[in-house]
Amino acid sequence: MKAAVIVSPGSNCDRDIQVALRQSVGADPVMHWHGDPDLPGVDLIVVPGGFSYGDYLRAGAMAAHSPVIREVVDRANRGVPVLGICNGFQILTECGLLPGVLMRNAGLKFICRDIDLRVDAANTVFTRSYVDGQIIRIPIAHNEGNYFADEDTLNRLDGDNRIAFRYCSPRGEVTAEANPNGAALNIAGILNEKRNVLGMMPHPERLADDALGGTDGRPMFDGLVEALAAAA
C-alpha cells in the first residue's frame, strides 16, 4: 500500500503521520509538497495537522487553494481515500470535499488534551478496525474545532451515518459536558457521501505507539492497510 502525506508551509503533524504510517504500512509514505500539482499514484492521501499558512484569513483557507489540492479533490471524487486530520479537516471543508466549517472554539481557548470519542460509523476503510459504540481516547490540539453546518446538512450527516466520531464522556454518553469546543452534535469527525473522505479534529497519529502513552489511534492505520492492501 502506498500513501502520500501533503506537506504545506506550517504543517507540523506531517512527521507524526509519517511515523504512524511507516509503522502500520511497513514503508515510508510519499511526503508531497503542496506546491507540486504532480501527485504520484497512491492508495491513500493524508492531509495532516498544523497551521498551514499560519491560519491566515481562516484556518485552512489558503491551503485549500494549493496547487495539489485540486488533484486531491479529483482523486477523492474518483474514490481514493482521503484522510484529513485537524488542520487537514479544516482544509477539506474549505476546499469543499466535506460540508460545514470549523469555527473558533466556543470557549475561545486553544485546547490540547486527550479526549474520549465514540465511534459512530465503523463501516469505512478508516474505522473498520473499531466497532460501533467503541470509546477511544486520543488527543485534540486545536483552536478552531467548533464544527458548524446548517440544520439540513447536520440532519443529512446524522441520518446517513456520516458522523464517524463524536466527543463523549468516558462512558460513551454524548453530552454537552463532554463537548470540548462547542461542535454541533458533538461532531469530532465526518465522512463525505461516498465515505472515502474522513475529516477529524482529534489526532490518531499522536497515540499510535506505546512509547507515546497509548495506541487507540493505531487501529485506524492498521485497518487502512488491511482494507487497501486487499483492494490493491
Binding site: A61, H65, M103, N105, F148, D150
Partner: protein, 99 residues
C-alpha cells in the same frame, strides 16, 4: 501655495493612479454563534459600558484595483469573496467601491 507647487513639480512621473479602492466588510451570518463578540460584550460591560447588546466581530479587507469600470470591479471582488475571502457557510460580505 508654495507647497502645492512643490508637489506638482516633483511628483514622480511614474506614480500610478489608483483607479478604485474596494472595501470588503465580512460579518458572521445571523444565528452563527460568535464567541469573540460575546467575550467583547462581557469585557465592555466589565469596563462599565452599559446598554450594549449583540456585539458581533467581523473582518475588514481593503484593496486597490486597476479596474476602472465599476460593474466589472464589483463582479471581480464578488468572485474573490465567493472563492477565498469569505466562507459563505457562516459569513456574509458587503463591498464598497470608491472611484
Amino acid at each position: 501655495m508654495a507647497w502645492v507647487g512643490f508637489r506638482v513639480r516633483f511628483a514622480p512621473p511614474c506614480a500610478k493612479q489608483i483607479a478604485m479602492k474596494a472595501r470588503v466588510h465580512i460579518t458572521l451570518k445571523n444565528g452563527v454563534l460568535d464567541p469573540q463578540g460575546k467575550a467583547i460584550e462581557h469585557a465592555l460591560a466589565g469596563l462599565g459600558f452599559s446598554g450594549i447588546n449583540d456585539v458581533r466581530q467581523g473582518k475588514y479587507i481593503e484593496m486597490n484595483l486597476d479596474e476602472t469600470d465599476e460593474a466589472t470591479a464589483r463582479a471581480s471582488v464578488e468572485a474573490m469573496c465567493e472563492k477565498l475571502l469569505t466562507n459563505t457557510v457562516i459569513e456574509n460580505y458587503e463591498i464598497d467601491l470608491d472611484a
